[in-house]
Subunit: 326 residues, 2 copies
């Protein structure tokens, strides 16, 4: 199995690569070679005769074609500019999130006929915007209200059309908001959902820019990587023409997040969360999804966490060496 | 009022231009200049100091920028490759229908700040594909099942995002299938809906490739041009973030079309329709919309025909000089 991972130096990309290398196989087929690509560098990947790293920009002419020259049978397309950055930098968002994806799809199409790789696309619940029902059903229409969500929705439409035409065997997975996102805060507008847990767990202060009643949709980084790998194994004939899936996740309020934090790390941790309302984030979040039915994905075997206590424990295990030092 | 019309040499474009020139104004503002552009030539337009024709390809570098150099306050974007051609020629469809639109939107964005033209986009009911309810509601999601429908859906998403960001004042109108389309059959898969009326009305045979029970959604060319002009006058603050509208139309079966033909032109005309089933068209049509609620557009003042007898009479008036010769 020859695999290509884009955005491989990102948070999910690094975890995905580690999981793939540890497993050594996908769908019972040994991984013979992996190409990892990203615009950023690869700090923690050791290149080998099995693993090749390529620091490059997918949207540049010729780059996508060179990446699929070896005809990878499985492509994980994770490369993206996050929501806050796509909103702040209109051109960069469209260049990376739309043009990059389209360049990759076009390179695959032009490499055919006879080449039709499994193409796992990391989409987002940001393809949905208000008005939304409390529980979003699997047939909810695409109504993005951010440039990021628009770019992801457009890529989903391309994914479906390229799949229908037989150029790729595509599957789009609408990832819940990832919490607890490790490392430093990034430019995602949803970052505070992670900050208010990660920072107090490490004994540091964090800013809460919205009300505790705000409800949102979550999965841990571990669950997200599980989704991505599982998407490579799904029988796509069951997807029909609708190639993108709402994934299972955990619907929780900020208040419920803080209660779980209290249970796991005590009152002292919760006291580190400072309330500083941010009108821009409050406005954006008001249009975001709160909960999903996700039956279709659950029936296809996708599994997420069922409590924030569990999500916090996953963070402690995967990021803090299993020990809470605070 | 300075106006730009793309696809101005097409069937709807020609009729739109004629209507605008006859009216001399839009929203009570006199038309001072019009730029008409198309990849094809302008057979029946007389250039004047008020009307400029430009034969060019929107998707080529620099073309869109030159077209909006004079900062038209109103843009009718009709240029498109039709459904059958977009399906047959994948690259041409994406180039004209997606890249051409995006080039125009980008040229407008880069001409700002302070420039935010009304942008009327001719979309299509092809943005919807099965499974569909018998009567499609205004909040139906985008589920195209053709490359043409995919391209139109993507452009709708761009229209909404560019409007939200303040680059354009966009409105997308999902035109029903146009019947009776004058002139020669084109490459639209829906062409037979017109052929089976237009040809017999002229004493010629026509091919019916589907069953008489097939139901679909129609408006006359005159109604379609009315929609396009009306879209220039709509108060877009009422659209909110959903900038594209299902338009009113007439839901009718092929059988009802033929009954109307019989009433207007007699049994002899109906006898000219030859049944030659076409599996490919039958398959495509099975996923197409059958009827719409379209309340939102009706509330905004969009009006369509209410019977096929009326649609046929419009054709006789507008295309046959008011006289049925057959």
């Amino acid at each position: 199995m020859n695999i290509l991972v884009t955005g491989a130096a990102g948070m999910l990309g690094r975890k995905l690569v580690a999981k793939l290398l540890a497993a050594g196989s996908v769908t019972n087929r040994p991984i013979t070679s992996m190409t990892l690509t990203d615009v950023g560098g690869f700090a923690d990947v050791v290149p080998s005769n099995r693993v090749r790293t390529v620091v490059t920009d997918l949207a540049q002419p010729g780059v996508a074609a060179s990446l699929i020259e070896s005809r990878p049978e499985l492509i994980f397309h994770l490369a993206a500019v996050v929501s806050g950055e796509a909103e702040a930098d209109f051109e960069k968002g469209y260049c990376v999130n739309l043009d990059g994806t389209r360049a990759l799809l076009e390179a695959i199409r032009k490499a055919g006929p006879g080449y039709c790789p499994r193409f796992v696309f990391a989409s987002s619940v940001a393809v949905f915007g208000s008005p939304l029902p409390d529980i979003i059903q699997d047939d909810q229409g695409l109504t993005p209200l951010t440039s990021y969500g628009t770019q992801k929705a457009i890529c989903e439409l391309l994914l479906a059309d390229y799949s229908r035409r037989g150029f790729i065997d595509g599957i789009g997975i609408r990832l819940p908001t990832i919490a607890i996102r490790p490392g430093k805060p990034n430019k995602a507008a949803s970052g505070f959902f992670s900050n208010i847990l990660r920072e107090p767990l490490a004994g540091a202060e964090a800013i809460l820019p919205v009300d505790e009643s705000v409800r949102h949709w979550f999965a841990s980084p571990r669950a997200a990587v599980g989704f991505i790998v599982h998407a490579a194994t799904v029988d796509t004939s069951k997807l029909g023409s609708h190639r993108s899936l709402n994934l299972p996740g955990l619907s929780a309020t900020v208040g419920e997040q803080l209660e779980a934090l209290k249970r796991v790390a005590g009152e002292r941790a919760v006291a580190l969360v400072k309330r500083v309302p941010d009108p821009q984030i409050i406005k954006m979040i008001g249009s975001w999804p709160r909960s999903f039915d996700a039956r279709r994905a659950r029936d296809l075997g996708f599994v997420a966490e069922s409590s924030f206590d569990e999500i916090i424990r996953v963070h402690i295990e995967d990021e803090l060496g299993g020990v809470l030092r605070a």
